[in-house]
């Protein structure tokens, strides 16, 4: 994993002390809330329904075991003994005291973590593939590029006050586990016809109020020009993005209004200038960063055989374990979606356990997924059963990856001041209705995503079944959408009809699942069947 150099550590430490002083001044009355609010938000500290909420950045979703332990320590010491892993691969604490915030940030800094740029109209935490460095199909590890972007975007003086927040994802597989086309900028490493590796650049995707799938703005960008090209993309946005209208301020609106061709033309024109400025990282600096992501020392000669005689273990194995590029190794997906649990929540003890498992079995590495689960990326197959037993004992071995019980849900109205409706209780009701794991497996891949408001933190636009909570005259109501995908076959879910109460949604999903099971062809997922037959039979079953 990448380790901070002296510069990285110095700026994070300095930021902690700066925020400590700002907090002191706020508590002493030297700063008003109007003055302090943008300062605390720049450090990830929000005021939510019940308390201050601190959002901690987990760059490209990668964590070391000591960092994971620090997250548990903070949850135990300063919060209510748990944390919430988010759809942007971050972690949120829900019960922070203002006076504790500087100490928390100081403790995070000791393990090279921070909460910088987890709020505000700036470039947010860079997201990436949770299988990075482990997936057999990737062109190369995307994380050195994500780290380069982290360093480039941190405190970038020109891009700290963009028209609106800005999210970048970097992937290196054709199989997309990050919703790369639904980011402001999506970067996909791939090979061109000459065999060279470069970036396919998507610009102008996003969810929220106006969901859009990003068009390809550059099919092939030489890797060495990444920074100067992104500078051009951001400069065009910074200059012409709609600062006059909050709801039209994201880059997706600019790209849409200009048209992809015109936006591309303006970027290329700007790029002619930015590539003369010496902005791109020197090769030696990139190599220094990349060295931090050198593959671990995988053992050779390991067997790929796994004893499947325990049927429960075999079920978990089939669902939660993915192929690794190294013979004898596997990728373990840890479910944070027990049937009666809260999607993405983990107790301090569970977080500690996952850190221990990473240290003992996965070269000390963990990953957070945008689907609110955790990954041990480099596990010997010979250790899988021992890991499963420990996860199972801690309630972390539900074998439901990508099944109907593996629901993405934002914190919703239970925690969030922006929400219109609760997301978590609905997720629990749906997971409970389909609690039979054998039935879930029979239904196959079926991604339900729930957002408590139009901001779409629960990615409902990208759900095979998406659910949006709305406020209807003071009552919670839920709009149901079908046909979305955040994967390589990206699509936006379409509203199926009038909304429902919480219980009504569960019944409607039951009916939709019934349509799917009666119409599915061999090997078809729910999404495939929906795309093939269209919405009519689903609508008929739900509303007819």
């Amino acid at each position: 994993m990448y380790r901070y150099d002296d510069y990285d550590q110095a700026i994070v430490d300095a930021r902690v002390e700066e925020f400590r002083d700002q907090t002191r001044r706020r508590l002493a009355g030297e700063l008003s809330e109007d003055q302090f609010k943008p300062l605390r938000l720049m450090n990830g500290l929000y005021l939510q329904l019940h308390a201050y909420m601190l959002r901690v950045a987990i760059p490209y979703g990668t964590l070391s075991a000591p960092q994971m332990r620090m997250l548990a320590h903070i949850a135990r010491t300063y919060d209510k003994d748990y944390g919430h892993f988010t759809t942007r691969q971050n972690l949120q604490y829900n019960w922070i005291k203002l006076a504790d915030a500087p100490d928390i940030l100081a403790q995070l800094a000791t393990v090279q973590m921070h909460a910088i740029q987890t709020s505000g109209n700036c470039i947010r935490n860079i997201s990436s593939d949770q299988y990075a460095g482990a997936a057999a199909a990737e062109v190369e590890d995307p994380r050195p590029w994500a780290e380069l972007l982290r360093q480039w975007s941190t405190f970038h003086p020109e891009f700290l006050f963009l028209p609106r927040k800005f999210k970048i994802a970097v992937v290196a597989c054709e199989e997309d586990r990050t919703a790369v086309q639904l980011h402001d900028i999506g970067l996909q490493l791939h090979r061109n016809d000459s065999g060279e590796v470069g970036f396919r650049v998507f610009v102008g995707g996003g969810m929220g109020r106006t969901p859009m799938i990003a068009p390809v703005i550059r099919e092939f960008l030489p890797k060495a020009q990444l920074i100067s090209y992104l500078e051009a993309c951001l400069r065009v946005y910074n200059r012409f993005g709609r600062r006059d209208n909050l709801y039209k301020a994201r880059i997706k609106i600019l790209v849409h209004e200009l048209g992809a061709d015109e936006y591309r033309r303006q970027v290329e024109e700007e790029f002619l200038h930015t590539q003369t400025l010496g902005l791109d990282a020197p090769q030696a600096e990139f190599e220094r960063i990349a060295a931090g992501f050198a593959p671990p020392a995988f053992e050779t000669g390991l067997s790929d055989d796994v004893d499947r005689s325990d049927p429960d273990f075999a079920v978990w194995l089939d669902k939660q374990v993915a192929a690794h590029k190294a013979p004898g190794y596997a990728i373990v997906n840890i479910s944070l979606k027990p049937t009666d649990g809260i999607p993405g929540d983990a107790s301090s003890a569970q977080i500690d356990l996952m850190a221990d498992l990473a240290e003992a079995y996965s070269f000390g590495e963990l990953r957070i997924t945008h689907a609110q689960n955790v990954v041990l990326p480099h596990v010997r197959k010979a250790d899988l059963q021992a890991i499963w037993q420990k996860l199972d004992a801690a309630g972390l071995a539900t074998p439901n990856l990508d099944l109907i019980g593996d629901i993405i849900a934002c914190p919703g109205l239970d925690y969030c001041s922006l929400a219109n409706a609760r997301s978590i209780p609905l997720a629990q009701k749906i997971a409970g209705r389909f609690g039979d794991l054998e039935r879930q497996r029979d239904l196959g891949e079926l991604k339900i995503k729930i957002s408590g408001c139009i901001n779409a933190c629960g990615h409902h636009h990208a759900g095979h079944i998406g659910i949006l909570g709305v406020d209807r005259k003071g009552e919670e109501n839920y709009q149901l959408s079908f046909g979305g995908s955040g994967a390589e076959d990206a699509s936006l879910a379409k509203i199926i009809g009038p909304g429902f109460s919480e219980d009504g949604v569960v019944e409607a999903i039951e009916k939709a699942v019934g349509v799917y099971t009666s119409l599915r062809a061999d090997g078809e997922r729910f999404l495939d069947t929906y795309r093939r037959v269209g919405e009519a039979p689903f609508k008929e079953a739900i509303y007819g």
Partner: protein, 98 residues
């Protein structure tokens, strides 16, 4: 009735105006009538509360009940974690919220 709520500046806890101070318990909230905005401004300036605002509520036998579900959730804590709320032992608290 109108009641005044906000968050404690230091702890972030949800608080309710009691007439002469702030309480974490909504049962202590009083009708601020038309004085809410003035009290809010004075209390915020004194750094005793953060982000105060006036809400509509109805008086019930159990005390004031906010008109909007968001404020009812604020009053008792997350519905999915009653163990973290102010009334973890009250089995009827969910009904009060919904």
């Amino acid at each position: 009735m109108k009641i005044l709520t906000g968050n404690d500046l230091v702890t972030g806890d949800v608080t309710w105006w009691t007439g002469d101070g702030w309480s974490r318990h909504i049962e202590h909230a009083v009708d601020v009538d038309s004085q809410g905005e003035a009290i809010a401004a004075a209390e915020e300036a004194a750094r005793r509360v953060n982000g105060p605002y006036v809400i509509q509520a109805t008086m019930t036998e159990a005390g004031p009940r906010p008109a909007h579900i968001k404020d009812r959730i604020r009053a008792v804590g997350p519905t999915v974690r009653p163990d973290l709320g102010l009334k973890p032992a009250d089995p009827t608290i969910g009904d009060w919220v919904i």
